[in-house]
Symmetry: C2
Subunit: 350 residues, 2 copies
């Protein structure tokens, strides 16, 4: 039996192309004996493309990408403060547009403290959790506006939109994850202040929890969650939260686990109706671009998430095992982006 | 010349009364040779009062409190999950109602890593910053609602409201603080997603910055700010941010600086039109209430903020110096709440 996986690759800006090159090598190697053939199409998107053509994401691009099985994305965004990008907002026009158009309602972000990786925490403990961040609602919907802009009477509003439909499906995904892990779901929100959205989230978690009696449920206000993230991150198994709180918590999680050079993410549409998108959490870091200084590990771990998404559990585990073995043997002497990628590929036996 | 400072004391729930007792001792002692006489009125407010009478904050209470020069608050809130408090939301009805009614537009939260206090960070560095959190706008305004609640078609919205008037005054306060400190302001927001509110904040900071040419200005997305909070907190001097981001960042700041047992805060109306309110950042911790286990340091440092607010700089410094000296000599053997308060009082010479 042979299968073809059609893949949109968006290397993007800055260090994106470098880390994606390594991720693709790992993906090819991991699939080599699987019977799965890769059919890759490359898309030049991001600040570079915008500066060349003025396009952020054309309808044609979007349509072509939407027809694939999956997307692998490096990082997008130009140099901070580049005046030519002032009016562009590549993040909204590209990254968020893809997440919303392709209904990526699960933004999956695992965090582990790998043995051998120095955490900024004195005693991180045995950290292994995933954040299930909602990806299509909350304050990210773009329902903001301002009246009397530029005057002393300006009022700028931002609306966080939360629907029963949207919350229920992501909460259900979190419980399913927890069931396959250590059976613990922590809802993070700010129910004492955002009472309407908070109440919807809380009631939804309580309702879904009844279908998963073996899963423990816990609730933390987002402010308290950041405290536990630095004092006792090992307590978490699956965190489910909204789009903005998830954004904040996962960067913090990346930091405590030894840097967002290791943080992978999947923007997932679990129904399979649209292609899911896998990307490192880090940005395009234009200051070190093209210098072979970037760590491709987060991009490579994003490939593992992709393999897992397609049910290729053995291949996914092979990649994470190879990464873990590589990390365990890292020394103080720096390696190039390619050297790290090659070392991980070399650990993938057929 | 003699002055009278009329003070509303709200001990509150849980450990509130214990820590406030020590804070009051310190305040009296600090003022003893200052020519300032205290005129204290105590208000029984919080979960305890609500359970007894059904009142959260009556108009009479509010009026009496509003007529004072300042407010000292311990902590409010009952046991988490207490079914009798289910419909109360003491936080909104009391704490937020006071902040909004008394126009506490600056929520001032200093963070220092005191020598001798173990931080969860391996290497915190020389941390000394203040967060100037907006206190009367943002997602805290209570402009939320839900339609079709309880059905599968529920939509729950929360509106973040930001005004030029509200943003400008708090940003100006932050620049004034920075000018008297290390001349650095960091705006924290999420301008790439919350584009309207973000734009208002950014433009306001840029405009006010022109009046403070000696102050350096920096911008961080809130997610990136949490990373720096654990990797390089010493970089911060004054952080200015909105109500929700400030809530999150200050709990995280409390955690990295050795626990929110040390985190003080002032809810300030700089115009003096309404009394400002000083309170530890920590909650009521009902689980350890009445056991003399609570650390009163945050409440005592809140007194120092109050003294500073009234221009009593020498007295404020005396209190922080006494706290610092006490902290430096803390050993592993636990002291009671009263012992800590007494030790700090003993260091305050006339
Ligand atoms: C670039 C930005 C829009 C994005 C987000 O806020 O989601 C990023 O921070 C992330 O977490 O992927
Ligand atoms: C209790 C709660 C409403 C409050 C807030 O969110 O402001 C608290 O977390 C704080 O930071 O003082």
């Amino acid at each position: 039996m042979s299968r073809t996986l059609s893949l949109a690759v968006i290397p993007g800006d800055g260090i994106g192309p470098e880390v994606i090159a390594e991720a693709e090598k790992v993906l090819e190697r991991a699939l080599s004996a699987s019977g799965v053939t890769l059919d890759t199409q490359r898309f030049s998107l991001g600040a570079g493309r915008y500066l060349e053509t003025g396009d952020v994401l054309t309808d044609d691009d979007l349509e072509a990408i939407a027809s694939k099985d999956a997307i692998l994305l490096g990082a997008v965004g130009g140099a901070p403060g580049d005046p030519r990008l002032k009016d562009a907002n590549i993040e909204r026009g590209l990254l968020l547009k893809l997440r919303f158009s392709l209904d990526h309602y699960v933004n999956l972000r695992p965090t582990r403290v790998y043995p051998g990786v120095p955490s900024p925490l004195r005693d991180a403990g045995d950290v292994d959790f995933v954040v299930v961040r909602e990806g299509t609602e909350g304050p990210y919907v773009g329902n903001g506006g301002s009246i009397r802009p530029g005057t002393e009477h300006e009022i700028a509003n931002e609306v966080s939109v939360n629907t029963a439909y949207g919350v229920e499906r992501v909460v259900r995904f979190a419980f399913e994850k927890a069931q396959a892990r250590r059976q613990r779901v922590t809802l993070v929100h700010k129910t004492n202040v955002l009472v309407f959205a908070g109440s919807l989230w809380k009631r939804t978690v309580d309702a879904v929890a009844e279908e998963f009696p073996e899963v423990d449920v816990d609730y933390l206000h987002v402010d308290a969650a950041t405290i536990f993230m630095v004092t006792d991150p090992a307590r978490f198994d699956v965190i489910v939260t909204d789009n903005l709180f998830g954004d904040i918590l996962t960067d913090l999680a990346g930091a405590i686990s030894g840097g967002i050079g290791l943080a992978a993410s999947g923007n997932i549409n679990p129904t399979g109706r649209f292609p899911s998108m896998f990307e490192p959490v880090h940005g395009s870091a234009p200051d070190i671009a093209g210098q072979q200084k970037a760590d491709p590990t987060a991009a490579i771990l994003s490939v593992a998430l992709m393999l897992d998404h397609f049910g290729l559990a053995a291949q996914a585990t092979a990649v994470t095992d190879a990464v873990e073995a590589d990390i365990a043997e890292r020394t103080a002497s720096p390696r190039t982006t390619t050297e790290i990628g090659d070392a991980i590929v070399a650990r993938l036996t057929d």
